[in-house]
């Protein structure tokens, strides 16, 4: 590690430069706001980023960026204070100007958008975040911006009324009030050197403090280097270090009492990881590119993926969570993973060895080894994911089925791409699924079976049976194994129909019937321990 580091986290809170060090840096932002800053308007309900009661807005641009930060809503309950280093934060207490309610507040009041009031600050902040980028909201846009906020009292219609009636007020513009060039520069200057903050053994109750030993070297450390070299060195040196991007899943696990490595390396200050590079036939997505940014980056090149991102997670999560985080988390139900598998994405990594950074590329097909196990060497950092774009994926379709349409972890998800050449033969096939095995899977055997053959009813029927024989779904809180099989069969048939049309010579694709034999043999197959781990992961859930 280079000599010069900082041991206090520095951010702006409702316009005031704020410094936090020691154990408090490891608290979740929501806890810290409530218990230390005594700003109790921010509420904690689920502590897993699923209800939005803890919503605050944050403006952040990486070091060296010339752009002015833009405020966006985020969940404060699954974010450590240390991750806010260099950020501009506004809580519900920072909204009133000259004693007057801000537009979102006034609209929520006037439209009876609040009953018990507990979710209200979160909704107010989510609407406020939307108003920072949009002049007004129609019903659909309003609903999309509020997907990450749960209300149990109103039935939402008064809240939608409020969001649609809201009108921007220049006086209340957060950008105008809290992002003056002075404070933006001040914060940049203050946070320009690496952050390395240490907690005490018993004091911090959050990130990194879950070991019960008393050894000094187990004091929790949060390290945010400013160069990739520093990051790689630190990862190489600390074998048990946990690398985090937005840590939206790590945050949940900490809140739910899971043990974590005491050494956290955060990529938050590595400016080079915040970029999306278009390389002609592919997009190189940096490890710190959040899903909101990703969505706008792929809107033209991969519209199907952009559309899919709209029903995946909440705005609060998407404003911080990254594609690489979803990949590194390697959950069998990670929503983007079937897409990456189907498109033959390539994982770019960096690792410190022999005095320098060694970079390599790993095919996504070789990346998932077992349940939550990846083909990464010790100390190896994912720097980017390269997503092929263009023609070969013109028939790509993404599917997700969950109990609730939006902001719900999938029961199953799928990414399917079958292309037929001018000769009438299948020229390409990618079939990738999530939620049906211990890892996201791609069914190469079925793909190879399809390629080179002419589409027909019989062919797809056989393919469907093959798909089913390769699945190992489980029963859990999100659905039974049989339901998952039925869903996959239906998704496949729907795909074939809507994308390829009714195959020539086929009068009709009859309803798919799964044989008892298939179900009985496969539901119980697979290593028992893998299945158990998979079940418990799904049971505890959390966003990825």
């Amino acid at each position: 590690m280079i000599a010069k580091t900082r041991d206090t986290v520095i951010f702006s809170l409702n316009g005031q430069v704020t410094k936090v060090g020691g154990d408090d840096a490891f608290m979740t932002l929501a806890e810290w706001l409530r218990k230390r800053a005594l700003l109790t308007g921010t509420k904690i309900v689920c502590a897993e980023g699923d209800c939005g009661a803890c919503t605050v807005v944050r403006g952040f641009e990486p070091r060296n960026s010339k752009k002015k930060p833009v405020f966006a809503a985020m969940n404060s309950c699954i974010t450590a204070v240390a991750q806010m280093d260099g950020s501009h934060l506004v809580t519900v207490e920072g909204l009133k100007a000259d004693g007057e309610l801000a537009p979102a507040q006034e609209a929520m009041r006037a439209c009876h958008g609040s009953q018990c009031g507990y979710c209200t600050p979160g909704f107010v902040m989510a609407i406020t975040g939307a108003l920072e980028v949009l002049p007004n909201l129609d019903r659909k846009t309003a609903a999309n911006y509020l997907t990450g906020n749960l209300c149990r009292c109103t039935g939402y219609s008064p809240i939608l009324d409020a969001a649609q009636s809201v009108v921007r007020s220049p006086k209340h513009s957060l950008a105008a009030r809290y992002l003056s060039p002075t404070i933006v520069k001040q914060l940049r200057d203050l946070t320009n050197i690496p952050l390395e903050v240490r907690g005490s053994l018993l004091g911090s109750s959050h990130l990194g403090s879950k070991t019960n030993t008393t050894a000094e070297n187990n004091r929790p450390v949060f390290y945010a280097p400013t160069t990739l070299l520093e990051a790689c060195k630190a990862a190489a040196k600390n074998k048990n270090a946990r690398l985090v991007a937005a840590a939206t899943d790590v945050g949940v696990q900490v809140n739910k009492g899971k043990a974590l490595a005491p050494f956290i390396i955060s990529l938050q200050h590595l400016a080079e990881l915040y970029t999306v590079l278009s390389k002609g036939t592919s997009l190189l997505v940096g490890a710190r590119v959040n899903l909101t940014q990703l969505r706008s980056a792929v809107a033209k090149s991969i519209p199907e993926f952009a559309k899919f991102l709209d029903i995946f997670a909440s705005p609060q999560i998407k404003n911080v969570a990254t594609l690489v985080g979803n990949l590194a988390n390697a959950s069998p139900i990670g929503d983007t993973l079937p897409f990456l598998l189907a498109t033959n994405a390539v994982v770019h990594t960096a690792r410190y060895a022999q005095g320098k950074i060694n970079r390599r590329k790993i095919s996504i097909q070789d990346f998932f080894i077992a349940y939550k196990k990846l083909a990464l060497a010790s100390g190896e950092i994912i720097t980017a994911v390269e997503i092929p774009t263009g023609k070969p994926f013109r028939n790509l379709r993404l599917y997700k089925v969950s109990q609730r349409k939006d902001l719900d972890i999938s029961a199953v998800s799928a990414a399917l791409n079958i292309d037929v050449s001018t000769s009438g033969k299948i020229s390409a096939a990618s079939l990738a699924f999530g939620g049906v095995a211990a890892t996201p899977i791609r069914l190469g055997k079925v793909e190879r079976y399809l390629i080179g053959k002419a589409p027909s009813h019989e062919l797809f029927d056989a393919a469907r049976a093959m798909i089913d024989s390769q699945l190992m779904p489980l029963s859990d809180a999100r659905g039974s194994d049989i339901y998952r099989r039925v869903l996959i069969a239906n998704i496949f048939q729907r795909y074939v129909h809507t994308t390829l049309g009714t195959p020539a010579g086929a009068s009709s694709l009859g309803p798919c019937r799964l044989t008892d034999e298939l179900i009985n043999s496969d539901a119980s197959s697979g290593p028992a321990n893998t299945q158990k781990a998979f079940t418990s992961r799904i049971a505890t859930g959390g966003p990825s």
Binding site: K43, K96, R152, T154, G155, S157, G479
Partner: protein
């Protein structure tokens, strides 16, 4: 849409984040964090709990176990539940030890260091097992009318079925929480998120072994309750109080959502076995219904919930021959409890589902069957013998049928579904979804079925500047009870709403109160507040009549300090309010009434020439104070004309009925079973509303909450009875995207309710039951498949669509042949 009626009294502090909830209270020096230790097994004998290692963790201040509890039994009906379990744990999540620590981290480590030796015992986890093993809570209850056997035998058509209804989590946003402050001489002040401050006070006092008078329970507001904090908040408060008592330090318990969902009970699951007889027109001739509920490990409120289910088994429909039998089962689940609607939704779901099935069997429109069975003149006595007064049901059906354009939409949907079902195959473009349409009603009885709970008290204090504080036993949990009570009191005094402040609920101001539950919050507490206000008003009126005939220079404000004029004596028995008019922040006595007064009075003066006498409210109040007239009053209200005998199942169970009807249109995805609610039209009877905006908010909120219960909210347990869906990542309440695409709510114009204060009707619970129309609309969509497929019909005849109709369950009923496992586990 902005509404005209006054907003919620906390509407500003809610949007600014200033509204204070329990955990927003600033922590005191030395205050402890409190957490609970429990096992994840359904039933076990406890051999030993070893807390020694946990006590050694730095920061762990105290551990409380059963031996620390003075009276270790509580329960809202039967005291059958330990506050902290001792020798046996009866459900996964039952508290065995409580830890108090200086930091959340010390608390977490302390809880992890508790060691326990236990032996698991066989558990009962389903209603079916409980029935087999005769594991029951309380006896069998019944309501009977007519000759059911004969009517069933004579009926041209008969149908039977078993409906499975699962529970639901309240999912209030504010988790269970309490802070306890130890006070001198063994007293305890408890701030709790509870719907029942009085019971919390009692449970805490008994846990500590002190008099009820030594405990004060204070409730500022709740971040949602929905029944989940009617009884189950009490032991939570006791945990904080026990730690506070043991350490003499403030102690705070705030459950995580996970702990809250695991530890606390839910809406009772039900299984209902029924038999119904009907004629060819769909007239229901007889119903025999046997209701079993899963009460969980302890009684809690389950027997009362069962009563309400039985009392609502008729819903809006007259049935001449009825036998309803109810039995609560004891299982090793968390003790199930009140949830908006109490048992009502279960009784109503059965009869509304039956009507959908009759429609399918007779190939009739379900709405026509509803209309021909609805309570109406000559057919207006319920199965428990109460006349349905102020019956709006026939007109609600007729009006909603018109305003929602039911007939046209029915034919549109029939055509749409015809096209879908005759498409080349189910994957053809446009064949992806089916639609369903259903109109259901609600007739919800208002009153606690336990008569003695139907009382309320209120304290009204007028201050010298004319501002008024009102304190009642009502708990504000978002429903707007404070706003409604303030409006009633403001109207009574004729003052503007901003002069009224409804105060924090506290047992030292209002004792022996009932829970804010059964939709009665405004009815009983508002009525009590109005009674108290009337008593003060009577005195103020009497004083005004005196002032009217005294020259203003002799009024107390000019003379009382000097003693230069005789103090005014008032006769409180005067019928003075009849002579005065309180309105516009003034008290006015018209001249003709003044002359009545003057004839009885010895004083003379200028009044003969006056047109009228007028004095501002604050001025009159000040003169009253200076005349040593009391400006505070206590009111006690008891609901009249109630008399239901639970043992015979007959009598006047309710003061009145809140009624309504809803039409829901749904779209069901044939490939995934996912449900989308396209449009909902509601016509709701709330009598003469006090605050229309708040009422509409209750209707939309209750409806969407009910939608969650009948569709996406799915409680999943493991084989040990441990809840797996214990957070919003696995338990899906409706999100903003689920609210009906088109949502029309209209309040019925009904000035005719004579039974209640101001002719108003309760609105908290009844609209939740209207969400059953979403479930029955899904049934309707499925029916379109049955119409053309005999196997499908046979399956759906024997397998009723359960509640919740999750996507999986819906797909199973749409396409049963895709599934080979049993449909209902």
């Amino acid at each position: 849409m902005k509404h005209a009626s006054p907003p919620h009294d906390s509407s500003i502090t809610h949007v600014t984040g200033e509204s204070e909830y329990v955990d927003d209270r600033t922590m005191l020096a030395g205050e402890l964090f409190v957490g609970c230790f429990y096992l994840k097994v359904a039933h076990a004998e406890i051999d030993a709990i070893d807390t020694s290692a946990a006590l050694k963790i730095p920061g762990v201040a105290a551990i409380v176990t059963a031996k620390d509890v003075a009276h270790n039994a509580w329960g809202p009906i039967f005291q059958d539940q330990p506050i902290i379990a001792d020798k046996v744990t009866e459900f996964a999540g039952e508290v065995l030890a409580v830890v108090g620590a200086t930091t959340p981290e010390a608390l977490r480590r302390g809880l992890a260091a508790i060691k326990i030796r236990h032996r698991t015992r066989p558990a009962i986890l389903t209603i079916g097992e409980a029935i087999t093993r005769k594991s029951f809570i309380g006896g069998e209850r019944f309501i009977r009318r007519g000759d059911v056997d004969k009517a069933l035998n004579d009926a041209p058509h008969r149908m039977s079925g078993k409906l499975v209804i699962k529970g639901a989590d309240h999912f209030y946003l504010e988790n269970q929480s309490a802070v306890a402050y130890p006070k001198e001489a063994g007293q305890m002040e408890v701030h709790s998120s509870t719907q029942h401050p009085t019971e919390t006070q009692h449970v805490v006092a008994e846990a500590l072994g002190v008099n009820f008078s030594d405990v004060v329970c204070i409730v500022k507001r709740l971040g949602g309750g929905f029944g989940g904090k009617e009884s189950q908040s009490s032991p939570i408060a006791a945990y904080a109080a026990l730690v506070a008592n043991k350490t003499k330090r403030a102690a705070r318990i705030v459950l995580t959502k996970d702990d809250d969902m695991i530890m606390t009970g839910k809406r009772n699951p039900f299984e209902i076995h029924y038999e119904v007889g009907f004629d060819k027109k769909g007239n229901i001739l007889a119903l025999r219904s046997r209701l079993y509920s899963d009460g969980g490990a302890y009684a809690d409120l389950s027997t009362a919930i069962m009563e309400r289910a039985m009392l609502h088994s008729d819903n809006a429909y007259f049935i001449a021959n009825v036998e309803v039998i109810g039995q609560v089962c004891k299982t090793n689940c968390h003790p199930h409890t009140a949830f908006r609607g109490f048992g009502g939704p279960k009784g109503v779901a059965v009869i509304e589902g039956i009507i959908e099935d009759i429609a399918r069997e007779l190939k009739l429109d379900a709405l026509d069957i509803r209309k021909s069975n609805v309570y109406r003149e000559g057919h207006d006595v319920t199965h428990y013998g109460q006349v349905v007064e102020n019956n709006r049901l026939p007109s609600l059906f007729n009006e909603l049928e018109k305003t929602s354009d039911y007939r046209r939409r029915r034919s549109d949907i029939s055509l749409f579904n015809h096209n879908v079902l005759t498409a080349t195959n189910r994957f053809s473009p446009g064949a992806e979804t089916l639609r369903g349409l259903s109109m259901t009603a609600v007739k919800f009885g208002i009153s606690f079925t336990t008569k003695f709970l139907n009382q309320g008290n209120a304290l009204v204090q007028v201050h010298r500047d004319g501002s008024i504080q009102v304190s009642t036993g009502a708990v504000e949990m978002g429903q707007g009870v404070n706003t409604r009570i303030a409006m009633l009191v403001a109207e009574e005094f004729g003052v503007s709403l901003d002069t009224i402040r409804v105060m924090t609920t506290s047992t030292e101001k209002n004792a022996n109160t009932s829970p804010t539950a059964a939709s009665t919050g405004t009815d009983i507490n508002g009525a009590a507040a109005v009674l108290a206000a009337q008593k003060i008003k009577q005195r103020l009126s009497a004083l005004a009549l005196k002032l009217a005939i005294i020259s203003p220079e002799n009024w107390p404000s000019k003379t009382a300090g000097l003693g230069s004029f005789p103090e005014i004596e008032i006769d409180t028995l005067d019928d003075s309010p009849g002579l005065t008019d309180f309105s516009g922040n003034k008290i006015v006595i018209p001249r003709r009434k003044l002359s009545n007064v003057s004839s009885n009075n010895t004083a003379t003066g200028q009044l003969k020439n006056a047109e009228r006498f007028s004095i501002s409210f604050p001025q009159l109040v000040n003169e009253a104070y200076l005349s040593r007239i009391s400006l505070g009053e206590y009111g006690h209200h008891r609901t009249e004309n109630l008399g239901f005998n639970k043992l015979t199942g007959q009598g006047q169970a309710f003061q009145y009925f809140s009624q309504g009807a809803a039409l829901s249109e749904v779209e069901v995805n044939r490939h995934s079973g996912e449900i989308k609610v396209r449009r909902v039209d509601i016509l709701m009877d709330v009598g003469r509303p006090i605050n229309e905006s708040l009422d509409i908010g209750q209707v939309s909120g209750a409806f969407v909450q009910g939608m969650g219960w009948v569709t996406t909210e799915n409680l999943v347990y493991d084989n040990e009875g441990y809840l797996l869906s214990h957070s919003p990542s696995t338990y899906k309440i409706p999100s903003v995207q689920d609210t009906p695409r088109e949502f029309n709510i209209t309040l019925d114009h009904n000035p005719g309710n004579k039974a209640n204060i101001r002719g108003t009707k309760a609105v908290g619970e009844p609209p939740l039951l209207l969400a059953i129309s979403v479930w029955s609309a899904v049934k309707d969509a499925i029916r379109y498949v049955s119409e053309r497929d005999a196997d499908h019909l046979a399956f759906n005849r024997t397998h009723l669509l359960p509640i919740p109709a999750t996507a999986e369950q819906t797909l199973r009923h749409l396409d049963p042949h895709l599934f080979t496992a049993p449909v209902i586990k």
